[in-house]
């Protein structure tokens, strides 16, 4: 849980968007840097739904920029990094990586097999408890499975599990030893699709030519940075009728407090927009927050100064 990734964390820049693929980086940024992003991938364990999504995680350009400015992350041109990395990968590394995957596959196969055994046992236990009459049936089945340790009167997990798993281990290790350095035995090894390409590729170094400059951000960035430094978690808000939705803590646990809209200091704001925003926010029990830097143009001051000059206003319908 308290994993500390190597800094700076590489953010993959793919077709104009900022993505994260490493689960450790995602957890770390969420915990230490209030950066949630949006999960956009499919969860392989329950693929037919849109409520829980998985990796990759898409970051807003604002989030990516903030992390780069903090020195926590760097932007990597992923397509280039992948192509170059794959071409320069040595055969030795490649073989070692395949061996690694093979052992992961074996482990997965073991876990799945173990779980199946467990399920089978639970099922038998239940059926035994339900109907004492079925005992002979169970016995014949278990013996036909070639599992001599299972006793028909009460198959205890403690006895059965290690034995069957042990068999599995033995069979696997011998088969992989026998056919080492060749295609894995399909009887036992599961295929594994890794989530990231690091390894086998080396961690991108800061001097690599795949590193890109910091991301371009919209005019609302000073307000974003201002809210972020005050501990708010921000996510994209168009679906709620604003630019960002601001949460007082991790959105896993807290409801959002503000609908955030950025404006320039001397910008004309339509009164109707303020009323609409105020009514919308009040309707969903949130404040409508309008803000922006007082120093507008980049020549008015450095970015830090602009961010520090941000003022915010919240509008609420006070009528009872």
């Amino acid at each position: 849980m308290d994993f500390q990734p190597t800094l700076p964390i590489p953010i993959s820049f793919i077709s104009g968007r900022y993505l994260l693929f490493s689960i450790d980086a995602v957890t770390y940024l969420r915990r230490e840097h209030n950066t949630c992003g949006v999960l956009i991938g499919t969860l392989p364990q329950i693929p037919q739904q849109n409520v829980f999504l998985g990796l990759p995680l898409e970051l807003m350009p604002e989030e990516a920029r903030l992390l780069v400015d903090k020195g926590v992350a760097c932007i990597v041109d992923e397509a280039k990094a992948q192509k170059d990395g794959m071409q320069s990968l040595l055969e030795e590394d490649r073989r070692q990586y395949l061996r690694e995957l093979e052992s992961q596959g074996l482990q997965a196969a073991r876990i799945v097999a173990g779980r199946k055994e467990q399920q089978k046992e639970d099922y038998f236990k239940k059926s035994l408890e339900k109907k004492g009459k079925k005992k002979p049936n169970v016995q014949s089945k278990e013996t036909s499975n070639g599992d001599p340790t299972a006793s028909p009167t009460g198959p205890s997990t403690a006895n059965d599990e290690p034995a069957s798993l042990g068999d599995f281990f033995a069979g696997d290790s011998s088969s992989s030893r026998g056919t080492s350095n060749s295609t894995p035995n399909p009887q036992h090894t599961y295929g594994v699709t890794p989530t990231t390409s690091y390894p086998p590729l080396p961690h991108p170094s800061a001097s690599s030519d795949a590193i890109l400059s910091r991301p371009d951000v919209p005019l609302s960035y000073p307000l974003f940075a201002h809210m972020h430094t005050r501990g708010y978690f921000l996510s994209p808000g168009l679906r709620f009728g604003c630019q960002y939705v601001a949460y007082p803590g991790d959105p896993l646990r807290f409801h959002s407090h503000f609908l955030v809209v950025s404006a320039e200091w001397d910008q004309d704001i339509n009164l109707m927009d303020i009323i609409i925003g105020g009514r919308l926010g009040t309707g969903v029990k949130k404040g409508f927050l309008l803000g922006g830097p007082q120093k507008e143009k980049p020549e008015d001051g450095s970015e830090i100064e602009r961010t520090e000059s941000v003022r915010t206003f919240s509008i609420e319908w006070a009528g009872m």
Binding site: G41, V51, K83, G191, R239
Partner: protein, 435 residues
């Protein structure tokens, strides 16, 4: 910790009303996910209910514990590996140069790619595809290999149904044992190689995957390629089409016609040029009076000209065709789609679409007038359905909203002549015409 978990379940199951709200609208508590038993997939088909949230952080250890448990559950769920059971293990190969015949057939088919009956945008092939998941995707070539488009390849890999291998050429310069060292592509590698290939943007992919996850069949529309143009262009007529949409109703010309009518037949009931709209005289029907009063011109979408779907500008063009779950689709004869989708990214398209943009988009879709007994009976359903429709998928940094735009025809609904007119609660005023 177990206690807190149970708390969450109890309180959330008590509030049944919460189920009405859209779960995907908010960040979900991943602890709920861990209650699903993934391996007994048959028993846990229902989705979890939403968890309880607090108003704001407080310094209690309890809250910190709950939060860290939530984060741990999220971590575990996201760290779930993609593993392939040997029985259902499907292996595909990345072909960076597009569809190619198999190496041992290169001499016989010199026209690499062309004439294989496979889209030139395909970039992954599967030598022997098995399983029902591959029935509605891909195109087979004559060597019985299934070619996948980039979005299909990423989606299948993401679901854990496909293991894609790097081609041996791009991993190893020259090797003897090629099969031995074909490295599986990671999720990251698949995204970085396929995204941006042949017009696939992350927004389009997000929409594609979101619909596929819900069970829809999604195919590329002809206008997928931004640069594709129709063969015969009739530009000047099309510009007129949306700057001056077809109007119906009297309008100015209609009034002039009325005047000339009046000149020729001054003893008609109405005399709009000289007097009130509905002149004095004997009026025997309300409908005639209402018809005389209908002065405001209105737009009739049924008369709007049909445009070629390719004769539109990105992003306002239909890029995806969507079919409802259960539609049987033969790859040889593709039926007309149930929905047409245009994909917009909020960072590129920062303003609300203009009327000309939307009109052009709608005119590129076929006429789909409201049909059926129910539509005939219910006027508001008819208005809402419209005569043409298109779905806008607006992607805001990974968050997708779907908006349906219909070309409604209020002018076509003559309230005074309606057979099944809506009846207000008021007693006086409008009354249903008797027949």
């Amino acid at each position: 910790m177990a206690d807190a978990d149970e708390d969450v379940i109890n309180t959330s199951s008590a509030g049944a009303a919460q189920m009405d709200t859209d779960l995907s609208d908010e960040t979900q508590d991943f602890r709920l996910l861990s209650h699903l038993n993934f391996l007994n997939d048959s028993t846990s088909s229902s989705l979890p209910k939403r968890g309880e949230k607090d108003f704001e952080p407080n310094p209690t250890e309890f809250q910190a514990d709950v939060l860290s448990a939530s984060r741990q559950a999220m971590h575990n769920a996201l760290a779930h590996p993609r593993i392939h059971n040997p029985k259902t293990w499907v292996i595909g190969f990345y072909a960076p140069d597009g569809p190619m015949p198999p190496p041992d057939h290169v001499d016989t088919a010199k026209t690499a790619g062309k004439g294989m009956g496979v889209s030139q945008d395909s970039c992954v092939y599967i030598p022997n595809a098995k399983g029902s998941t591959f029935q509605s995707i891909g195109q087979a070539d004559r060597w019985n290999r299934l070619w996948l488009l980039p979005e299909e390849a990423i989606y299948m890999l993401e679901r854990g149904n496909l293991d894609i291998r790097w081609p041996s050429a791009s991993t190893a310069p020259a090797e003897d044992e090629e099969d031995d060292i074909s490295i599986p592509m990671s999720l990251q590698a698949a995204y970085s190689c396929f995204m941006g290939h042949a017009g696939l943007t992350l927004e389009r992919y997000s929409v594609y995957a979101a619909l596929r996850r819900l069970g829809y069949t999604v195919l590329r529309a002809p206008a997928w390629d931004d640069s594709a143009k129709p063969y015969n262009t009739k530009t000047e007529m099309d510009i007129d089409a949306y700057t001056q949409p077809t109007h119906r109703g009297p309008g100015l010309g209609g009034i002039l016609a009325c005047i000339s009518n009046w000149m020729s037949d001054p003893f008609s009931t109405a005399s709009p040029a000289a007097g009130p709209l509905v002149g004095c005289g004997i009026h025997r029907s309300h409908n005639d009076v209402y018809r005389k009063m209908a002065l405001i011109p209105w737009y009739d979408p049924a008369l709007a000209p049909q445009k070629d779907p390719l004769d539109t500008t990105a992003p306002f063009r239909v890029v995806l065709h969507v079919y409802k779950p259960g539609t049987v689709i033969k790859k040889s004869a593709i039926p007309p789609p149930d929905f047409r989708i245009a994909v917009l990214s909020t960072r590129e398209q920062t303003t609300i679409p203009t009327l000309p943009e939307l009109s052009a988009l709608l005119q590129s879709t076929p006429l789909d007038p409201p049909r059926g007994e129910k539509m005939e009976r219910m006027m508001y359903m008819r208005v809402r359905h419209g005569y043409r429709n298109v779905v806008l998928a607006v992607v805001d940094q990974g968050v997708t909203s779907f908006l349906r735009v219909g070309d409604a025809a209020f002018g076509k609904e003559k309230l005074f002549a309606a057979k099944y007119a809506p009846r207000g609660t008021k007693k006086s005023g409008y009354s249903k015409p008797k027949r």
